[in-house]
């Protein structure tokens, strides 16, 4: 469904991504894990069209999307939940969700119901300003906002960043739930333990390269991974 071949990206004057290739199968949860500065976020930003690739190709549903602008990539069905949530603080929760559906011209009421049923908390607070929500609620809003574009594949950049462990668990159970409803998920995480538990397939990135790959359940038992990322 989604495939990256020999992708190189320069970002901020350095070669942030060097020759990576990986693929995502439809309906699966795929995770990229790795330390700070490994190039995970840059990879997601490149797929979303926010950063231009130096070379390599990105294909989605058999179509080349390398070099397309962010709007047309969202239109094709790939939406990014940015790192650090980045909700719109001075818009209400409802307005935030409507922005997620900005490119759509059809009826959004059904999707709004769906998002509210996934996150009942957002429905209670639909008239509140985004900036007044707690960290966990903001993350829910960021995910809900992305779902409003009715994506085929949703990319999440560190959804557990800065959240309490209990809330992180909530977020991950929601990720699984969204996946069950048929949305493919590409997840970038530093919280390798949680990410590997939910992922069907995992790739480990180090300084711009993919150094290891395998099923999530396999990598969780891998000695090197344990030493480097799981603190065991």
């Amino acid at each position: 469904m989604f495939e990256i071949k020999n992708l190189f990206v320069n970002y901020g004057g350095i070669e942030a991504v060097r020759d990576i290739s990986f693929s995502v199968e439809e309906g699966k949860i795929v995770t990229l894990i790795g330390a700070n500065g490994a190039g995970k976020s840059t990879t997601l930003r490149t797929i979303a069209g926010l950063v231009k690739a130096k070379s390599g190709t990105i294909e989605f549903m058999g179509e080349k999307i390398t070099g397309k602008d962010p709007a047309s990539i969202v239109g094709k069905g790939i939406t990014l939940v940015p790192e650090g949530r980045k909700i719109f603080p001075d818009l209400t929760v409802l307005e935030n969700l409507k922005i997620g559906a900005y490119l759509r011209s059809d009826d959004i009421s059904k999707d709004l119901e769906w998002v509210y049923s996934l996150f009942p908390r957002l429905k209670e607070r639909s008239w509140q300003y985004g900036g007044t929500l707690s960290g966990g609620e903001q993350q829910m809003l960021a995910v809900g906002r992305a779902l409003m574009s009715r994506p085929k594949m949703i990319m999440m950049d560190e959804p557990s960043l800065g959240l309490a462990p209990l809330i992180v668990r909530d977020i991950f159970s929601i990720i699984k739930e969204i996946n069950k409803e048929g949305v493919t998920i590409l997840l970038v995480e530093q919280n390798a333990n949680m990410a590997l538990q939910v992922a069907d397939m995992a790739y480990v990135m180090e300084t711009g390269r993919i150094t290891l790959s395998g099923k999530g359940s396999e990598l969780i038992d891998n000695e090197d991974i344990k030493k480097a990322y799981l603190g065991k």
């Binding site: 940015p82 980045k86 001075d90 818009l91 997620g100 900005y102 992305a146 574009s149």
Partner: protein, 370 residues
């Protein structure tokens, strides 16, 4: 909920209609030279340009300082188009040049043209300038306004702009009539109608999905882009629309002043409007309107006595002389900025819903006391 909303909307319309009725009655009863009309007219014109600046600075997050330039374009377009052809061909206005535009149009056409010319220039300037961010955008737009002012005084453009000389005898506020007749139209009401319609259009725009996209860009550009909002396209749109209304307000200002000269559109004018936007609250349309009328009333009317020797019944010609008004005015502005750092309204709007809320709160507080 829905019903309450509809009731509030109806109440708002009634309140606005009342304001227009009061303006109309004032024009029937007061002396036409009364200071009240100066304040009302200038207040309404400044409201429109402040709202147009707020659309850009407050709702799209683009810090632009080109407002005076776009007002100048609007003012000149309006004046040039409405000077009657026979006046253009005589040497009453174009004394040193032969006017190139040898036709004249009606008030309505000229007003729209004033907006369109300003919007067209905004479109061209926006192409390079809107790729800049924050301070750099402010500097570039400020520079544009200054350049436009210099160009309009340029000798070579004399046949079009009359060089550095005045443009007059165009259809100013004393010359507007009811359509297809010679009956004069009440001038203050005319300004209120034009400004009111334009502000209403801005309000509708802000509450549309485009307005939501503007606010999203203001809040977080990266997130907005990731949601599929084309940043440049929406910034350009906001810039062009804002300039369109700045152009119309420039035309109204020309009608109000009876003459047009490039010298009137200095950077000071932009700063005045920025001050109004900040005092009223960045991101509040009603705040901009209230602040405009307050600002004009204070500077043109209520504080006049400070320059003329007698203020609030106190006669002190030694202290209250020319220039003292400016001093007091600056102190007032400092107080407002210090104690109302988000402006009078913040980013809220006046509405019946909010007023009801306030009253309920007060009543509750009273009940608790008893």
């Amino acid at each position: 909920m829905e019903k309450e909303k509809r009731n509030n909307l109806i109440m708002t319309f009634i309140a606005i209609a009342l304001v227009y009725l009061v303006v109309f009655i004032l024009e029937l009863t007061l002396r036409p030279t009364s200071i009240v009309f100066t304040v009302l007219r200038k207040g309404a014109i400044y409201s429109l340009v402040a709202v147009s600046m707020n659309l850009l600075n407050g709702f799209t997050g683009l810090f632009s300082l080109g407002q005076a330039g776009f007002m100048l374009l609007g003012a000149y377009t309006y004046a040039i188009l409405t000077i009657p052809t026979e006046v253009k061909q005589s040497d009453r206005v174009y004394r040193y040049y032969d006017a190139v535009i040898n036709f004249d149009t009606g008030v309505f056409v000229a007003l729209i043209a004033a907006g369109l010319v300003a919007a067209f220039f905004a479109f061209l300037i926006g192409l390079p300038v809107l790729r800049l961010k924050s301070d750099y955008l402010a500097i570039a737009t400020l520079g544009f306004a200054e350049i436009i002012r210099a160009i309009f005084q340029w000798d070579v453009l004399g046949p079009l702009t009359n060089g550095a000389n005045l443009l007059r005898e165009f259809k100013d506020l004393s010359r507007i009539t009811l359509p297809f007749s010679d009956i004069p139209f009440p001038p203050t009401l005319f300004v209120f109608i034009v400004a009111g319609v334009c502000i209403l259009l801005v309000v509708l725009l802000i509450n549309s999905s485009y307005g939501r996209a503007f606010k999203a860009i203001r809040d977080d550009e990266v997130a907005a882009e990731a949601m599929g909002i084309n940043l440049f396209k929406h910034k350009e749109m906001s810039f062009v629309i804002s300039s369109f209304f700045a152009g119309i307000s420039g035309a109204l200002l020309a009608m109000f002043q009876y003459t047009v000269q490039a010298q009137q559109f200095r950077t000071m004018l932009t700063y005045e409007i920025l001050l109004i936007v900040v005092i009223g609250g960045i991101g509040s349309i009603s705040g901009s309107c209230i602040a405009s009328f307050l600002y004009i009333a204070l500077s043109e009317w209520w504080l006049r006595g400070l320059d003329m020797g007698t203020f609030l019944g106190i006669n002190a010609p030694e202290l209250f002389r020319s220039g003292f008004r400016r001093l007091v005015f600056s102190v007032i502005i400092m107080i407002i900025v210090l104690f109302f750092s988000k402006g009078i309204m913040g980013d809220k709007e006046i509405s019946f819903e909010r007023m009801k809320h306030l009253f309920r709160k007060k009543r509750k507080a009273k009940g608790a006391d008893a």
